[in-house]
């Protein structure tokens, strides 16, 4: 059994179209408790029918543009949002059915932890590094202040390479890399089986990023955790993840083994994404695939039109009639496209 199985997960947010007056009316309706669907009934489809599995000890990279729903998906799995529909099976139980407000007391709560993007916004500025790391141990781990807690926090600090004398400091007295370490120490304090990382290194300089990536890889092996790694940096995902899930406007565009997906992307969006990554070596540079136009609106999208239609260099009439579903393509990946890139035969393959 996989550690995490997600089936047909959907999250829609109600939105008010039609400017300030409609917005005010909607707010009034909400205040009167009339519910949202009595409004004009527009929905933003942030995550739309996403399914995937995550094995124990595996790292899955979640990539896509801003607004594609990758952060919402991460937050659904960390149970910070309630799904609109779908199943989140974690260690054999459907945790998606537990409301987020009650999940705090669920037995799975300590098993799923999250590392946030910006340590400045996720660490309490009035708490020392020590109290930030001790917080989950006290709230979820049932530890009382005392020698055992002190010892545990010091051990965690050592594990993430944070010098013990920095534990008395407040976030503003720490560097970006040190704050990132506090955020990681706090997340691994309860030895979770699943760590959800939302752009954990995007605010860091490359020298610090390199250290944090090494640390994350090391911790994964030592603690046997699985990672759900959200990032916009494909080169970072490539270093840390065995499999990748590419999202486009709430849907999975392509998923598969990392090397396969980067070397032979089947979905036109994946191809554009991979070709846009800047490379130091001229030999690694791909012919750039420019995407025309702007993405389609995620509000009330037509369920029969491919989300990438209009921006896709391959778009044909069929794409506007029939939503492509995820299908296995040669090479082991799955792509949601009617016209996936043909897989090169072994004779043509670059490294054959």
């Amino acid at each position: 059994m996989s550690l995490l199985e997600v089936w047909d997960l959907t999250k829609k947010f109600p939105v008010q179209a039609g400017g300030a007056v409609a917005h005010l009316k909607g707010t009034l309706r909400r205040l009167r408790g009339e519910g949202l669907e009595t409004a004009d009934g527009h929905w933003l489809h942030a995550v739309d029918g996403v399914s995937f599995q995550l094995e124990r000890g595996e790292s899955l990279g979640l990539v896509g543009e801003s607004g594609c729903g990758k952060s919402t998906l991460a937050r659904l799995i960390a149970r910070l949002h309630d799904p609109t529909s779908g199943v989140i099976n974690f260690e054999g139980e459907d945790i998606g059915a537990v409301p987020a407000s009650r999940f705090v007391r669920a037995k799975q709560r300590p098993r799923i932890q999250m590392v946030f993007q910006d340590p400045d916004e996720s660490l309490n500025p009035a708490h020392t590094a020590f109290s930030s790391i001790a917080d989950p141990l006290r709230r979820l781990g049932g530890m009382r202040p005392g020698a055992a807690l002190l010892q545990r926090v010091e051990a965690l600090a050592a594990m993430v390479g944070l010098p013990g004398e920095l534990l008395a400091r407040f976030p503003h007295q720490l560097s970006g890399g040190q704050k990132a370490r506090v955020g990681i120490a706090r997340a691994i304090a309860l030895e979770p089986s699943l760590l959800v990382l939302d752009e954990p290194t995007s605010a860091l300089d490359v020298s610090v990023q390199a250290v944090i990536l090494h640390l994350l890889e090391d911790l994964k092996h030592r603690l046997g955790m699985s990672y759900l790694f959200v990032s916009h940096d494909l080169n970072v995902v490539r270093l840390l993840c065995q499999r990748v899930l590419v999202m486009y406007l709430g849907k999975v565009a392509e998923t598969g083994p990392t090397d396969e997906l980067f070397e032979r992307p089947a979905h036109p969006y994946t191809r554009a994404l991979v070709s846009a990554v800047p490379a130091i070596d001229a030999g690694d540079r791909k012919i750039r695939l420019h995407l025309a136009g702007e993405p389609r609106s995620p509000i009330d999208p037509d369920p029969n039109v491919c989300r990438f239609y209009g921006r896709c260099p391959k778009g044909e009439a069929r794409c506007a009639r029939e939503m492509p579903i995820l299908r296995r393509v040669p090479g082991g990946a799955e792509a949601a496209c009617h016209f996936p890139e043909p897989h090169p035969r072994p004779a043509e393959a670059r490294f054959a």
Binding site: D205, H214, N235, L239, A279, I280, D281, D284
Partner: protein, 325 residues
């Protein structure tokens, strides 16, 4: 200096300090750089390396607490540091322009983007009335904004981050400047949008023979778009070379580490270098080489004289006593 042509911009031995309550921050020390017409120069380094401060000094938009203690900034042969504020105001926008990291925050939120471009044209562009409007729409078209006549009336909040950056680029090039400084122009944008914006900047620079300084922390971006690259560390320019040469054979230990620490397609995690330590406190007494405390090639001579500027090959300058190779 590279070549015999007179550079459009030459920063010569620029030292700059900030007087703060907690001490004097020596933000730049004897920084020298030059940019030719039509060239794209990358300035790379970690946060705190002084790359943005240097660009503010060139634009003359430094914080009042900053004090230039030595050096010159020659732009077309004249020293910008000797110009009055009103003379600089005439030059900014007309002769040199700058675009910033967060495009939305650089735009006026309650004025349509077309009007904001017209404002620049009104100040510097020598066009008036209907012509101004036509010119603004034409600029929106040049930065490849679809449906420019309609978008002329759009407000920044109605446009995506990438579209806002295009508007800023349109404003920056409106008065046909000779020099464009792009300070982290695509940081925070999606990778697909990044590629489009960078290609746009490069095409505009080429077609206008405009000099561009690209300030970035992303070595891959600099490698793809720049002709030459200057590497900065803690207020020093530690290495300058042609892009291919810099990545093929970096001579300064910091440059080599920075390249090694950048994730790339052909190397696994085990090949990813990390740089020990952090930037030194620029308020404290500093050794001649500000990298020496982090450096694996540190030798006693590094502490003796002032940091050298050695030309190891034509156009390849290194500030190091014990360079690689």
């Amino acid at each position: 200096m590279s070549g015999e042509r007179l550079p459009l911009l030459a920063v010569e031995g620029l030292s700059l300090e900030f007087r703060t309550r907690s001490g004097t921050v020596r933000a730049l020390e004897r920084v020298s750089l030059d940019v030719q017409k039509g060239e794209m120069l990358g300035v790379v380094g970690e946060s705190g390396s002084g790359k943005s401060v240097m660009s503010y000094a060139i634009m003359g938009i430094l914080d009042p607490a900053a004090e230039v203690t030595s050096g010159r900034i020659l732009f077309g042969g004249i020293n910008l540091l000797e110009r009055t504020e009103s003379e600089l105001q005439e030059m900014r926008g007309r002769e040199m322009a700058m675009i910033f990291q967060n495009p939305r925050s650089a735009l006026n939120p309650i004025r349509s983007v077309g009007r904001q471009i017209e404002d620049v044209l009104h100040r510097h562009g020598n066009v008036r009335g209907e012509k101004m409007r036509e010119r603004a729409v034409e600029l929106l078209r040049q930065v490849r904004i679809p449906d420019p006549e309609r978008r002329f009336h759009a407000y920044p909040f109605e446009l995506s981050g990438g579209m806002c950056q295009r508007v800023l680029i349109a404003m920056a090039v409106a008065a046909a400047p000779w020099l464009l400084i792009a300070d982290e122009p695509v940081t925070g944008l999606d990778v697909t949008t990044q590629a489009v914006i960078m290609d746009l900047i490069q095409d505009l620079a080429r077609s206008r023979n405009m000099a561009t300084i690209l300030i970035t922390h992303d070595l891959g971006l600099a490698a793809e778009h720049c002709d030459r690259i200057a590497v900065m560390h803690a207020g020093h320019v530690v290495e300058v070379a042609g892009t291919g040469r810099l990545f093929r054979s970096p001579r300064h230990p910091y440059t080599a580490k920075l390249i090694g620490a950048t994730p790339r397609a052909d190397r696994g995690l085990s090949g990813l270098a990390s740089i020990p330590g952090g930037l030194p406190d620029l308020r404290a007494a500093l050794p001649p080489c500000r990298y020496s405390a982090r450096c694996e090639r540190y030798a006693r001579q590094c502490d003796l004289g002032p940091l050298p500027s050695r030309e190891l090959a034509p156009g390849h300058r290194v500030g190091c006593w014990n360079p690689i190779g």
